[in-house]
Symmetry: C2
Subunit: 295 residues, 2 copies
């Protein structure tokens, strides 16, 4: 199983440690941590940690784009990010000694039509040697709303699409293997109750701390995490996508259990793209999906 | 008059616009502005705007260092920043719609002894073709406390030193032409009342909104701004230093008047390194320094 992750709106995630955040004041930052981010990058990081061969692609530009590549190289995650002229967005999270986290997200670059067209050629070559493709996150400015539909159709292998809003609706209509919205995103994107009405072959729908439900042509299963998990929910969805990919050839109830377990393990880790491996190893066998018989 | 400005701890100043700053929340940044900063860079920017030939040097490294150079090139300010391996510090100022500004200042890079030694060679060559040298701001980690003393002694032309704490005390002992502390910095650095006891030939001491006093071997003069100025005091001291340099060959009372006028004009401009030119042109002749006869 060789996976290709695509992050069109990748980010450089910067964390500042300060004593306390006081609006209007000047703060001496005591520690700066910089890390490659964006949903598809997080998926690639988790897959790499699980030992699944993965290549991270997407768009990256400017100083932040260079730092993003450097961090992936340092992390050992294979990458083939495609260069653009615009500056990759940064996110700055200010973490106070109390643990309070305040996030500032830059708007991100605009992508030209020429860059998008060149990226499609790059993507076509990478997708041709992958077994599964993962498309994650928002679309940067300048891309057509059906960008994900184009990427789904260009790949001749199964595609997992993790997006929301119009990018999800347009992308799902091209028939990906799985979409992975949370319940709110699904309701916003579709007027009908059936998650498969959007066009995907299957849907893994998250209900947050309550667990996840897999809607497939073979049946519908639901599973809850082994216990109430507190922590950082950022990256939990990306871990669920990574679990889906890592368990690709297992039956759906098992894939669902893996997604719930790895997602919970990700909530227990402070950084998106990491997971609590001991918790995952301890609990992945405990989770027993329940088949849902819908009327 | 060719000036060389030296900024050993330069910064990339980033400004984020947000609706309102709410600790603990996620903020969508609506606009990102990036600008080369650091006190000596601000001095160079003001001198360039005044039409005084200037070259900006100092230490710059990493992605932030590259962006700093790029911005100087874009601004037309001649630069010969010296490359270091460490990442130049960023400052992030979050400006809310209310005008409230919250600043986060990164700690900055560590400089190796080899880099410092190589920079000294670079500096020696640049200082040899300058008429005046300006040394501004804090010392990055890794530099000796007497770094400014070494730079003062290496230059065979007059030096203006704008620093505080131990960097000011050690640098002033090497005999620069002028030091430019504010009253608090002066009190912290010297145990005696005479500002010239630190070792400089002259001292331009700021009392903030009350004005400035020039202590020289020819006499002591004081001057107040033309009116009460409200605005952004960041960069006002750098504008005063630029005025001193631009008016180098004028008598001290005139140089003091220029420093007070340009400093007030800088408070009226939103960004450090800019000044309100109309205000400066209108008021620079109004300011009449008063000689202080000390007992």
């Amino acid at each position: 199983m060789r996976a290709l992750t695509v992050t069109l709106n990748a980010a450089l995630d910067v964390t500042y440690r300060v004593g306390a955040l006081r609006p209007g004041a000047t703060h001496r930052v005591t520690d700066v941590a910089v890390r490659a981010g964006g949903k598809g990058v997080n998926v690639a990081r988790v897959l790499h940690a699980l030992g699944v061969p993965v290549l991270a692609t997407g768009l990256a530009g400017g100083g932040a784009g260079a730092a993003l590549r450097d961090d992936l190289v340092l992390s050992g995650v294979p990458q083939a990010m495609f260069p653009i002229a615009g500056e990759t967005r940064r996110t700055v999270t200010v973490v106070a000694e109390s643990g309070q986290a305040t996030l500032f997200a830059e708007p991100g670059p605009s992508v030209t039509s020429g860059e998008w067209s060149d990226f499609l050629g790059h993507y076509r070559e990478l997708a041709a040697v992958a077994d599964v493709v993962v498309l994650s996150g928002s679309l940067p400015k300048g891309l057509p709303v059906d960008a994900y539909a184009t990427l789904v159709r260009t790949a001749s292998v199964p595609v997992v699409l993790d997006a929301d809003g119009s990018a999800l609706a347009a992308g799902a209509s091209a028939g990906p293997a799985v979409i992975t919205p949370n319940r709110g995103e699904l309701t916003a994107a579709s007027e009908v109750d059936d998650p498969l009405a959007l066009g995907a072959a299957a849907a893994l729908v998250s209900d947050g701390a309550q667990g996840m439900t897999a809607y497939t042509c073979e049946g519908v299963w639901t599973a809850a995490p082994p216990e109430v998990i507190t922590g950082n929910p950022t990256g939990a969805g990306d871990a669920a996508v990574a679990a889906l990919v890592a368990a690709w050839h297992l039956p759906w109830p098992r894939r669902l259990a893996e997604a719930v377990a790895l997602s919970a393990a990700a909530v227990r880790a402070p950084l998106a793209g990491d997971f609590d491996r001991a918790f995952y190893d301890q609990h992945r066998a405990d989770i027993t999906p329940r088949e849902v018989h819908e009327d």
